[in-house]
Symmetry: C2
Subunit: 434 residues, 2 copies
């Protein structure tokens, strides 16, 4: 492996805080000059005997007939790209189209050409490899998506720290600052910002965003802070007063010690869950030295754990992004969810607050409901009872919370789901049927 | 996270050697009882509000019209499975079909239901997480696929150890045993068996396989040995005297300290490079406790780094495996490569052995050629000259080797590729044009 010190230096010159935040693995990572590197150099040569994929010898895929059948709605050059290896960094047309999609509302801030990942979790795991590592503090407001524990903690030895996302039923914009308050001055940290949130289904208002930004800048005054914008649910906002765009853009340039990293993708926004196409984007100018250095590190890590991202579903997403009607199609899905969100909000208005305390939600795919303060059962028991006696599945989050995924329930069914949940809790709380 | 000690114990009871070989991360891994676990329990309920994917509320995908168009050659239920999340362990029908495909020639040995990975490299990275870790010896004959360094070394801190795959132009069946000879007695180790090999394109003969098996059993007499069968190129064997099947089956049960792990997939054998569908399989009975324990660990690690494997290309592979003609279609691709292999073997017969020394090759996608003993240039210089002056791309492997990927060159072009390679080396060696 080539010496990575030159690219670490390029990072340190453009962003000393980001260089200090690198993990040991992140520090060592550099895209090696082996097969994909050499194959990239040989593209377009008369004879290209570099790459271990079966072609007709002129760059066209050799397809099994059964696969040709299902792939035949791709045009010929697209199908070829869907069948053969993607570049490690992703298919160029998709990267360009996605960057334009990301920037359609906020063109004034710098951003790198997104690198393709195998879904959003893979993007998070790349951030964990780059900036996690043993003992590193990872701050996330509770309750948070439980898989962060595996992605950051189990895999890299990082340490989750937390503070409540809601206090007295209201959004706590200082949760990340509180979680990091006791970390020693100067120690780098990672914060995870998941807006709209999972499991909360909440997006902060204009005023809450301002306070959130201020508090993160306050954290950055004391330490290098990498803010992971887990933008899985970006755009799925249902309150016209609440901003729809990622916080990535506001965080960019807010403080020299604060570096946001954007993780997004086609999973939710394009309703393409099975495709596993995500992206990782940094807040630096296209083709800057730091952009090239970070690209080298990400490509090294993608190659180490995956080889290359899936080409087939990249090409499906390319087809979608080429379509001039795409924004309207995405908006149609948003409206479908907006209706479900409103119906669920209305259904929860009337639940017995002794049994169930809904937290505020206005976006995303979920609503989070806390068990009433005097209910003595726990969330797992409620979940199990709902499965066994009420033919209904919900997710138990920690000891006291239940998550309803309104994204996968008909609007006309949501009131009945709430009724069953309330009846289940009542039964366990010894209150009889409601 | 739930305590993993019970599943570690299940592994230790069935295979003490495998339990001893677990890394720290492998020891901690257990599939957590969070969202995918709870969602799996809720499948089939009247109301299923568990999972964060957008459906019509009755389990059907909500598709953007542009994506429906390209997916429309899937039948309706298949398309749905292609658009929505795959289970973490993979789509059940694919796992069953792949197991039958793996076992079509060797039904007598036990094997688990394969878990789906995002391509073969991802399968290797799972083995690295489970059995690598700081300081662990990973033995691979040289030259080996350079990415093993990233997958095992960079990511987990494991240590590559090696010995030559060829000695005096002949296959060295004892390379792994030689590489591990100086490791302390009792220290667990991992060996990587890549047959047919990359970059070598070599598969051992019946006699060489017997010696290889004996030498690995000899290693296992001194230490727990996990043998990763990197079966990327399985089946692509072009010499009728050479066995085509994976060594996984012969290694299974050969010694109590020796545990083979099979990594294979649709990439090469089904010529579906862009699909990124791989599998990881262990040599234990279906539904045994150790099979369940290893499944839990693998699912934990897949979830931690990826979320779930790509569904879209799993469904493409399902279509292929359902087809009764599939074995014939795979054989057609094998014959295409067999012809190229023979043409390249013939073209290399006549090269000047002072300049280029071809190593034996009989399988896979590649031929490996060593620079002649008195040629003073290095492989990178040859590669660069071929790009710059001969319009030809090959891969430089280490200081002295060049790899020709005959899988991506027309049979009718291979003689010219060899001619250009020979002329390039001659020019750098100061021998003038040949």
């Amino acid at each position: 492996m080539v010496d990575p010190s030159a690219i670490n230096q390029a990072i340190g010159e453009a962003s000393p805080a980001l260089e200090r935040a690198l993990s040991d693995v992140g520090r060592q990572a550099i895209f090696p000059p082996d097969i994909p590197f050499q194959a990239a150099e040989a593209r377009g040569k008369r004879y290209n005997a570099t790459i271990g994929q079966i072609t007709d010898g002129a760059g066209q895929a050799v397809e099994l007939p059964t696969m040709s059948a299902v792939m035949s709605l791709f045009s010929a050059p697209d199908r070829n790209r869907a069948m053969l290896y993607s570049p490690v960094e992703g298919i160029p047309e998709l990267r360009d189209l996605w960057r334009a999609w990301q920037r359609r509302l906020r063109p004034e801030k710098p951003s790198t050409l997104p690198l393709v990942t195998a879904g959003l979790t893979h993007g998070l795991s790349l951030v964990a490899d780059l900036f996690g590592g043993p003992g590193r503090a990872i701050a996330a407001p509770t309750p948070f998506w439980g898989n962060y524990r595996q992605t950051f903690g189990l895999r890299t030895g990082a340490r989750m720290v937390s503070a409540p996302a809601f206090r007295d039923g209201r959004y706590n914009a200082e949760a990340i600052a509180e979680a990091l308050a006791d970390e020693p001055d100067g120690a780098p940290a990672v914060a995870i910002l998941n807006i709209p949130s999972n499991p909360g289904g909440y997006s902060p208002t204009v005023d809450e965003r301002r306070r959130l930004l201020d508090s993160l800048v306050g954290v950055a005054a004391r330490r290098p802070l990498v803010v992971v914008c887990d933008d899985a649910y970006t755009g799925l906002v249902f309150d016209p007063e609440v901003p729809r765009e990622s916080m990535f853009w506001e965080l960019s340039g807010a403080h020299e010690n604060l570096v946001p990293v954007k993780i997004d993708g086609g999973t939710k926004e394009f309703s393409f869950f099975g495709g596993r196409v995500g992206f990782i984007t940094f807040p630096f100018e296209l083709e800057s030295e730091i952009a090239e250095a970070l690209t080298s590190k990400v490509k090294c890590l993608v190659r180490a754990a995956l080889g290359s991202p899936v080409a087939t579903s990249q090409m499906v997403l390319v087809q979608a992004l080429r379509d001039p009607e795409i924004a309207g199609q995405v908006e149609t899905v948003r409206l479908l969810l907006e209706n479900r969100c409103r119906v669920l909000q209305a259904a929860l208005e009337t639940v017995d607050r002794e049994l169930l305390v809904p937290l505020p939600f206005n976006s995303g795919c979920f609503a989070l409901i806390e068990l009433g303060p005097r209910v003595e059962t726990d969330a797992q028991s409620v979940r199990r009872l709902l499965l066994d006696e009420f033919d209904t599945g919900v997710i138990a989050v920690g000891e006291r919370f239940l998550r309803i995924a309104f994204c996968s329930v008909r609007a006309s069914d949501l009131a009945e789901v709430v009724t069953r949940l309330e009846r289940g809790v009542a039964k366990l709380a010894g209150r009889g049927a409601v």
